[in-house]
């Protein structure tokens, strides 16, 4: 049989440790699966969604209330997108907490960070496509943040929203990025990320001479586990999608300040909370970029864990990286909780 990409990702046998749930948490695999669900449900939504200010809301209501199984399709798209952020972050934390980002995997770690950024942009553009009252201030504040960048801000703003102010062009552009530009980047980077996993020697485990557990599992056992994980994930996703509808408010009207929900989408609440302190460029652009840069530098700043500890939880030889990522995580969670608390 001619080897395919599938065979590249599923060698005849792999070390049993590489596919243990308590090691990988299944987070990377789940993220890939959720991305596939998002692609399929997204294509289905494209058959009905109309990206104009007048019709966006009505077309979403049509999907939700009239199209057979439309509500399930839309809710699955919504929930898969929210879960993807969580599984991707768990995957990132697992990789750092097991020292798996260390050479030779440092480049794939960067590809993974790029995927996280693309995912956040996809989530934000998808959120904006609702074009309802609840997204208005997030759109205004988010795009004005871009404007706050010195020198290039105004030009970048025009490029982003399609003119000097928010308008129908803005929806067209966010739609184009959401369904094509960002998805294309996602497909390229995701394929590359998966390809590199095997190229770098599979999921990180200690080298064979230092390995305590030499058992291996076959390709068939690996696929069996993947199928089991997919079935479980699908059941959970379906249950959530059937019982918890994705939010939708009345269509956005220009120039109103009355009803809009001033909250950012949950994954950007931590940025909104920092913006309550002051300077938009510093807190809304520089700090998030700083956090991202710090994460990207981890493989280059901290020593490689000793080989016997590679691919094990909390290697002693790599405490600094774990402390930094844990602090970033706590910082973001704390700000998010503060932002969710009712004001006054």
């Amino acid at each position: 049989m001619r080897p395919s990409f599938f065979h590249h990702l599923h060698p005849p046998t792999i070390p049993a440790a590489q596919s243990r749930f308590r090691y990988t948490l299944g987070a990377g695999g789940l993220s890939v699966y959720l991305a596939c669900v998002l692609l399929i449900t997204g294509i289905l939504e494209m058959f009905f969604y109309v990206p104009t200010p007048e019709r966006a809301g009505a077309s979403i209501q049509m999907i939700t209330f009239l199209v057979p199984y439309g509500a399930v399709v839309r809710n699955m798209h919504f929930w898969a997108a929210q879960f993807l952020i969580i599984t991707a972050c768990i995957h990132l934390i697992r990789v750092v907490f097991t020292g798996a980002y260390a050479p030779p995997r440092q480049f794939n770690y960067l590809l993974g960070l790029a995927l996280l950024v693309i995912t956040l942009f996809l989530d934000f553009t998808g959120y904006i496509l609702r074009w309802d009252e609840s997204i208005h201030w997030a759109l205004v504040a988010g795009t004005n943040l871009v404007k706050s960048i010195p020198y290039v801000g105004t030009g970048l703003y025009g490029f982003l929203v399609g003119g000097g102010k928010l308008s129908a062009s803005t929806l067209t552009r966010f739609y184009a990025w959401h369904i094509f530009g960002l998805v294309l980047a996602m497909v390229v980077f995701l394929t590359w990320h998966l390809f590199r996993v095997r190229r770098d020697g599979g999921i990180a485990v200690p080298p064979v001479e230092l390995r305590q557990d030499l058992t291996r599992i076959t390709r068939f056992e690996l696929v069996r586990r993947e199928v089991l994980a997919i079935i479980l994930a699908t059941v959970v996703l379906l249950l959530v999608s059937i019982f918890i509808p994705a939010p939708l408010s009345a269509p956005m009207k220009q120039n109103t300040s009355v009803v809009a929900d001033p909250r950012a989408p949950w994954f950007f609440l931590w940025v909104q909370q920092m913006l309550k302190i002051g300077n938009p460029f510093f807190f809304g652009v520089l700090v998030p970029i700083g956090v991202l840069t710090l994460l990207a530098l981890i493989p280059y700043l901290f020593p490689k864990p000793i080989p016997a500890e590679t691919g094990k939880w909390f290697p002693k030889s790599n405490r600094m990286a774990q402390i930094i990522v844990a602090s970033i995580g706590l910082f973001i969670i704390l700000l998010t909780i503060l932002a969710m608390m009712p004001t006054q």
């Binding site: 205004v140 030009g155 490029f159 102010k165 308008s167 300040s257 009355v258 001033p262 913006l275």
Partner: protein, 142 residues
């Protein structure tokens, strides 16, 4: 080769020319792309709003003009037109008992639009209000 001849070989000349042409074409293409993406497909917002008779804005009134994202206040000092766009990140501030509050990041202003607290650090911009000879108000937002 004579000693006073420049030492640029045919190969490196062609290679340099090739790279320069490629770089120049790239820059031209990038310039075109930026112009293409920078085109404003929507007309600019109006900067003048006819508000009608000044008598419609009696003393003590605070009336919001939604299209202009502004509020017209008639106090003892006369007319005052304030932009409701928060100078921090552009959300519309909401009038309340103590003045104005921005729903997005919590900046607060007093009833005259003067900055009180929060991340904005600036007051609400005051807009120019023109009263015509026949007693009509025109608001300028530029």
């Amino acid at each position: 080769m004579k000693s006073n001849e420049p030492t640029l070989s045919r190969r490196s000349f062609l290679s340099t020319t090739w790279k320069l042409t490629l770089g120049l074409s790239g820059l031209l293409g990038l310039g075109g792309l930026l112009q293409y993406l920078g085109y404003q497909s929507e007309p600019a917002s109006p900067t003048q709003f006819k508000l009608g008779d000044a008598a419609n804005y009696p003393p003590g009134s605070r009336i919001i003009v939604p299209d202009a994202q502004a509020i017209i206040q008639n106090s003892s000092q006369g007319f005052q037109a304030l932009s409701l766009v928060c100078p921090h990140l552009g959300c519309l501030v909401e009038p309340d008992k103590e003045g104005f509050t921005c729903p997005c990041h919590g900046s607060k202003y007093d009833p005259n639009g003067v900055y009180r607290s929060g991340p904005a650090k600036q007051s609400l911009p005051e807009l120019r209000l023109e009263e015509t000879t026949d007693g009509k108000l025109i608001l300028h937002t530029d």
